[in-house]
């Protein structure tokens, strides 16, 4: 029996196959891994090519400098992107006003004050909040938040920037809270203990030690939150309206970049029309905005990681 197992191994077939498989598998897996790269290339190429087509019909200067967005006009359609950007920024600004104070408070509470038991309750609830589909938030904004706001401030219209702004804010709270908490929790305990040992209160530790040390991580979380708010589609499609406006009005109907894309997709803007291509130009603008935010967030969180 001494050599029998080794003999059996030596006789077993499939040695050739094995070698072939070992060579083949990495190639297949590489092709699979390149799908994600191809997706990015696909997105960028799609947006660029169709946007260029759009610019053959609408001068790029009109698009970039125009302050009137009237694509469906029978007389003379106008494609100045600014009203859509302004609409997007209105919603984003309100969302950030809601999400940053609450998200950061929750993060500080979880990382500095909460006991393990409290954390074990709050964190899953935040996860649930993060898992609610945006269509549900949109419904909530339209059928609950807006009526409540209207009963408080009668000048608010049924479609407005405030209600979807608040709800987008609620939607990104979990993201800001959990990313900021991660950043704060990774500040070494020893630093915190040092401050506590000198008689600091927990609030002082949070404000003077943890938050400053985790600042770039916290900023990264806020920037990612902004990116999410800019790209959010369903809440604004349902509750913000479809009136592109270049002004400072928050109480009435507006339109965001994302909502415009949805509005056109829902309708029957035939393939090949200027309106069809306009959604790519808007999509490209949206893509650039979110990409800039994501790169900024990546840079901030990388800087944060280098500190520890």
């Amino acid at each position: 029996m001494r050599t029998s197992v080794q003999d059996m191994i030596a006789q077993s077939k499939g040695k050739k196959n094995k070698k072939f498989i070992e060579k083949l598998i990495p190639v297949i897996l590489f092709l699979i891994a390149s799908v994600s790269v191809l997706t990015t290339i696909g997105i960028v190429m799609t947006l660029i090519i169709e946007t260029i087509t759009f610019f053959t019909r609408v001068p790029i200067t009109d698009f970039l400098l125009g302050t009137t967005w009237l694509p469906f006009s029978n007389k003379e359609a106008q494609f100045g992107i600014w009203p859509l950007i302004v609409g997007t920024l209105k919603v984003t600004a309100i969302a950030i006003l809601v999400a940053v104070p609450i998200g950061l408070s929750a993060a500080i509470y979880l990382s500095e004050y909460a006991t393990d038991n409290v954390r074990r309750v709050i964190k899953p609830v935040l996860e649930v909040l993060a898992g609610v589909p945006t269509i549900v938030y949109g419904f909530f904004a339209l059928t609950f938040v807006t009526p409540v706001l209207q009963s408080l401030f009668p000048e608010i219209k049924i479609f407005n920037a405030i209600s979807p702004g608040i709800v987008v804010g609620i939607m990104i709270i979990p993201m800001i809270a959990s990313l900021s908490e991660d950043a704060m929790s990774s500040v070494p305990k020893s630093i915190r203990d040092g401050a506590l040992a000198m008689g600091s209160t927990k609030f002082e530790v949070a404000m003077k030690i943890t938050v400053p040390a985790a600042l770039s991580g916290i900023i990264a979380s806020v920037v990612l939150g902004i990116s999410r708010a800019i790209g959010e589609t369903m809440i604004v499609s349902l509750a913000a309206g479809s009136t592109p406006k270049f002004d400072g009005d928050f109480a009435g109907s507006i339109q965001t970049m994302t909502a415009y894309i949805v509005q056109v997709s829902k309708g029957d803007a035939g393939y090949g029309t200027t309106i069809y291509y306009s959604i790519y130009a808007v999509g490209f603008t949206l893509f650039l905005f979110t990409m800039a935010m994501n790169i900024l967030a990546g840079y901030m969180s990388k800087r944060f990681r280098e500190e520890y």
Partner: protein, 275 residues
């Protein structure tokens, strides 16, 4: 000045004397002028060693001396670390293991390994032992049953686990896990077993069991064991090599090393002056 003379002594005279001694016994491994770098770190320097058949060879030395690196080079596991470079050669049964047509899988099928920490797979005890035979194409259940029993008996743990073969290997004690790992290595009936500080994570009683097992196994296998425990080396090995800073300082029969070391540094180390 003193060290310099000794060094030449090691690099030239010592291996020559070794080869002379080895004439009556076949050597399993002969290492010639092995150098190894981790990036820029020169971890093994001009190592020459002959390892005999059916012997227990202990490799001792302070941590960071290259003893584990050397062991892992013998089955080329060291190459899993990126940026490793080697030069020189290691003959295993007359073939250079670094030859391009020598597959590492083939080498490792002949050379089993037992690791520092017990590392059974998160599978049943049976599947752990049958892992080796299965990956090498043995699928017949009856043959596998035989191999599993034989290997577990070989590792002196059959009686303890024969009724729980289908339980997860993580359910048993650390000492038992380590013997499962030895049985797993035995299942493909290797020629050589490499042991990398196999008892460093075990309690004294489990350590004793593993040591006894090593003594039994050397009847059939050539064993190379890295240990930081000098008493262990003295108890179980036939030959001992002392490594320091990536060099072989002294290699001789265990008796000679421990009773009459030729090198001052060996003496200092085994008398506990450093390490």
């Amino acid at each position: 000045m003193n060290t310099a003379t000794i060094k030449t002594n090691i690099n030239t005279a010592q291996p020559a004397a070794e080869t002379a001694q080895q004439v009556e016994k076949d050597s399993v491994y002969s290492t010639r002028q092995l150098n190894l770098w981790y990036g820029n770190n020169h971890a093994l320097k001009n190592v020459d060693l002959e390892i005999g058949e059916n012997e227990v060879t202990a490799i001792i030395g302070p941590s960071g001396c290259g003893k584990s690196t050397y062991l892992k080079t013998l089955n080329r596991m060291v190459e899993l670390v990126p940026s490793v470079k080697t030069s020189g050669e290691i003959q295993y049964r007359g073939r250079n293991i670094f030859d391009s047509d020598y597959s590492v899988e083939e080498l490792r099928t002949r050379v089993g390994m037992v690791f520092q920490k017990p590392n059974p797979f998160p599978k049943s005890i049976y599947d752990n032992i049958a892992y080796g035979p299965r990956i090498h194409g043995i699928k017949n259940r009856k043959i596998l049953d035989e191999i599993v029993e034989k290997s577990l008996r070989g590792a002196a743990i059959w009686d303890e686990v024969k009724d729980r073969l289908n339980e997860n290997a993580y359910g048993i004690s650390g000492g038992q896990q380590q013997r499962i790992c030895i049985a797993r290595a035995l299942a493909i009936e290797p020629d050589v077993i490499l042991m990398d500080e196999p008892t460093s994570a075990l309690d004294p009683i489990s350590t004793l069991k593993v040591e006894e097992l090593v003594q039994e196994l050397k009847e059939q296998y050539s064993i190379i064991i890295v240990t930081h425990n000098m008493q262990q080396a003295a108890r179980i090995s036939d030959k001992t090599a002392f490594f320091l800073n990536g060099e072989v300082i002294e290699y001789d029969s265990t008796d000679a090393i421990f009773s009459n070391p030729a090198d001052k540094r060996t003496e200092d180390y085994i008398s506990g002056r450093f390490g």
